[in-house]
């Protein structure tokens, strides 16, 4: 297992090196010269000269790339044009919010999606199946931002059941240790703060979780339907095992394997979706920060965040493969 993990980590290296080359080339391909692109509208001749000096834009390209990689290795991912804040610092500050939102959305999608998909497969062709499958189809085709806008309109602005935006009510003076607001509330025993953060999470998480939910429903249904036709299920039935035992030990155990992979693969989708969802709900995470960076052409932020996101994404994929090996002994991880 350890060898497998190490080998997979080693395989990440060429991908990440390739990505740094592309990102390096990307900044140079931006309209105007790179110093101007990095400085944005506030570029003054002195500023450009300073950036050219600092980033070595006057040096040969290979030297420039070496400088860039050296900076990355020492943890310097550049600074935001707008705020001057180091990109790493901004990422560390904003990421907990997105992780909190993404995990909630994914857990929600899995808790609702797996049972629905299972029920649909067990009732193939009946009303329940049609209903669930049509619903999941709607979930797949509705744009995330449209759903987010709809939810906000109905549940926040018309019904006033839930807050329209932000991560926590501004009037709550909560202590933040980890920047995971719910966790902070629990750690400091400020229960009202934790509850308020949870309430603020509902609409964004539902909006973000809908597409993964729909996908999980469809995969679960397909997978359960396939397992139902397997010989071992028929054998289990003919042995006279109780229906519950068959469902748990024989059907679900086998059918959930592709579902686990699918859940893991939603990470990329969640990150794309987070940019849109967080923007609609002014949810202060990396999604909204990226949205602002895009609007202000804050390229160092984009460059740094894309690299961070790619690293996280690759690690999640590795985690999925390892989990797969653990829950399915038939898969030889080597």
């Amino acid at each position: 297992m350890l060898r497998f993990v190490l080998r997979r980590l080693a395989l990440m290296v060429p991908v990440l090196v390739g990505l740094t080359i592309l990102l390096f080339a990307w900044v140079r391909a931006l309209p105007g010269d790179p110093a101007r692109a990095l400085l944005g509208q506030r570029a003054t001749p002195e500023g450009i000269a300073r950036v050219n000096e600092a980033y070595g834009f006057n040096e040969p390209v290979l030297v420039q790339y070496a400088t860039y990689v050296k900076a990355l290795v020492t943890g310097d991912f550049g600074r935001s044009i707008q705020s001057g804040q180091p990109v790493v610092e901004a990422f560390v500050e904003k990421f907990p919010a997105t992780l909190e939102l993404g995990l909630t959305a994914l857990v929600l999608a899995a808790i609702v999606g797996v049972p629905l998909g299972y029920l649909a497969a067990r009732n193939q062709g009946r009303t329940l199946d049609t209903f669930v499958m049509s619903g999941s189809l709607l979930g797949v085709v509705t744009p995330v931002f449209f759903l987010a806008i709809l939810l906000k309109l109905v549940f926040a602005e018309w019904l006033h059941w839930l807050p329209t935006s932000l991560r926590q009510d501004a009037r709550i003076d909560a202590t933040h240790i980890t920047n995971f607001y719910i966790l902070d509330g629990i750690l400091t025993q400020e229960w009202d703060a934790a509850l308020d953060a949870a309430v603020h999470l509902v609409l964004p998480a539902v909006a973000l979780g809908t597409i993964p939910l729909a996908i999980i429903v469809r995969i679960t249904r397909a997978s359960v339907a396939e397992v139902l036709n397997e010989d071992y299920v028929r054998t289990a039935m003919s042995k006279g095992l109780r229906a519950g035992t068959i469902s748990r030990r024989h059907i679900l155990r086998n059918a959930l394997l592709p579902v686990v992979t699918t859940i893991g693969l939603q990470a990329g989708l969640l990150l794309s979706g987070a940019v849109l969802t967080e923007t609609v709900f002014s949810f202060n995470g990396i999604g909204q920060y990226l949205f602002d960076a895009i609007g202000q052409r804050d390229y160092p932020v984009l460059q740094g965040f894309i690299l961070f996101i790619a690293i996280i994404y690759s690690l999640i994929n590795l985690l999925v493969d390892v989990t797969y090996g653990i829950i399915d002994p038939r898969v030889q991880v080597s």
């Binding site: 390739g18 709809l150 849109l276 609007g295």
Partner: protein, 313 residues
């Protein structure tokens, strides 16, 4: 007295579909015609294409004209009236006109970007899968290089990939199409390569090589046509994704910037601050995007089912 032959229908009701001589595609087409879901999807697509093509005949106004901007106040947007049966939009253009012309944009953007993604993606897939099939050290190298490139592209969420490309190419229609198309490339490349590799073990490949046909001809003439099916299904499904992503780029402020061009995603963004007064400004373009995407998704899934060999009885 002759012994009556057993009725032909004894095997399976659909047995005639796969009698010898009926090709995979013709069989799939026949199954598709009998599938109500596919027909429903096709009808949606047909309606969408007709509206897009004949937009000028469906309305008497010009898109993005903002002719009646004077009637729009910060607190109200005029609703349906005799002259404007869906009312005005936030900038004082006819809402129906905007919606109808928006279909045009979505169709062009969706189709062109998917063609870009399909062409580049399948070329990479053929390159990679073909070189694996041809074997040799060069083959492995080409395959590895192409697949690493695909891995790199897949490690960046597709929306961010599209955003980075628009940043380089500038904010215009071509940039949007190229960006959305490029974001689709890795999917097509991986899919076709995988499908070519599994076809490579088929008996007909063995038979063809036994006949002494050159490897290159086997790959191009036999493996690719047999392996392309899933890629075409994916292209249909990707049309849905592309239309949604174009709207998403507009939502991020990176789409078409010309106010005279109507675009569903931008209509949604503009409607956001008029929710209470005029929710239809957001609802109609949103539904338009979702219904169009539904049409392509239904057709794509029906196509997938029809092409699935397990579905052939």
């Amino acid at each position: 007295m002759t012994i009556p032959l057993p009725p032909a229908t004894m095997t399976a009701p659909d047995a005639d579909l796969d009698e010898p001589g009926v090709s995979l595609w013709r069989g799939a087409f026949r199954r598709l015609r009998r599938n109500p879901t596919a027909i429903f999807g096709l009808l949606i697509i047909l309606a969408f294409v007709l509206v897009a093509l004949f937009a000028p005949l469906l309305t008497v106004y010009e898109p993005g004209s903002a002719q009646w901007a004077g009637q729009v106040t910060p607190s109200s947007v005029p609703g349906p009236s005799e002259d404007h049966w869906l009312g005005l939009d936030r900038f004082g253009s006819d809402l129906w006109t905007q919606l109808v012309y928006g279909a045009r944009q979505s169709l062009v953007y969706g189709v062109v970007s998917t063609i870009i993604g399909f062409t580049v993606g399948t070329s990479l897939g053929i390159l990679s899968g073909g070189f694996v099939a041809l074997g040799g050290r060069v083959g492995v190298w080409v395959d590895t290089a192409v697949m690493r490139l695909v891995d790199i592209m897949l490690s960046v969420p597709s929306l961010l990939l599209a955003v980075s490309i628009v940043a380089v190419l500038g904010q215009n229609a071509y940039a949007v199409m190229i960006a959305i198309g490029t974001a689709q490339v890795p999917i097509f490349a991986r899919l076709l390569r995988g499908s070519m590799l599994s076809q490579g073990k088929a008996d007909y490949v063995l038979a063809a090589s036994a006949l002494g046909i050159r490897r290159r001809r086997i790959v191009i003439g036999h493996v690719v046509p047999n392996a392309i099916g899933p890629t075409i299904v994916q292209a249909t499904l990707n049309l849905a994704t592309a239309i949604i992503e174009v709207a998403a780029l507009s939502f991020l402020g990176l789409g078409e910037s010309d106010p005279a061009v109507a675009e569903w995603g931008r209509m949604l963004v503009a409607a956001q601050d008029r929710f209470d007064a005029a929710p239809q400004l957001a609802l109609l373009p949103g539904f338009a995007i979702a219904v169009t995407a539904l049409g392509f998704t239904l057709l794509g899934e029906a196509l997938r089912e029809a092409l699935d060999p397990r579905g052939r009885r």
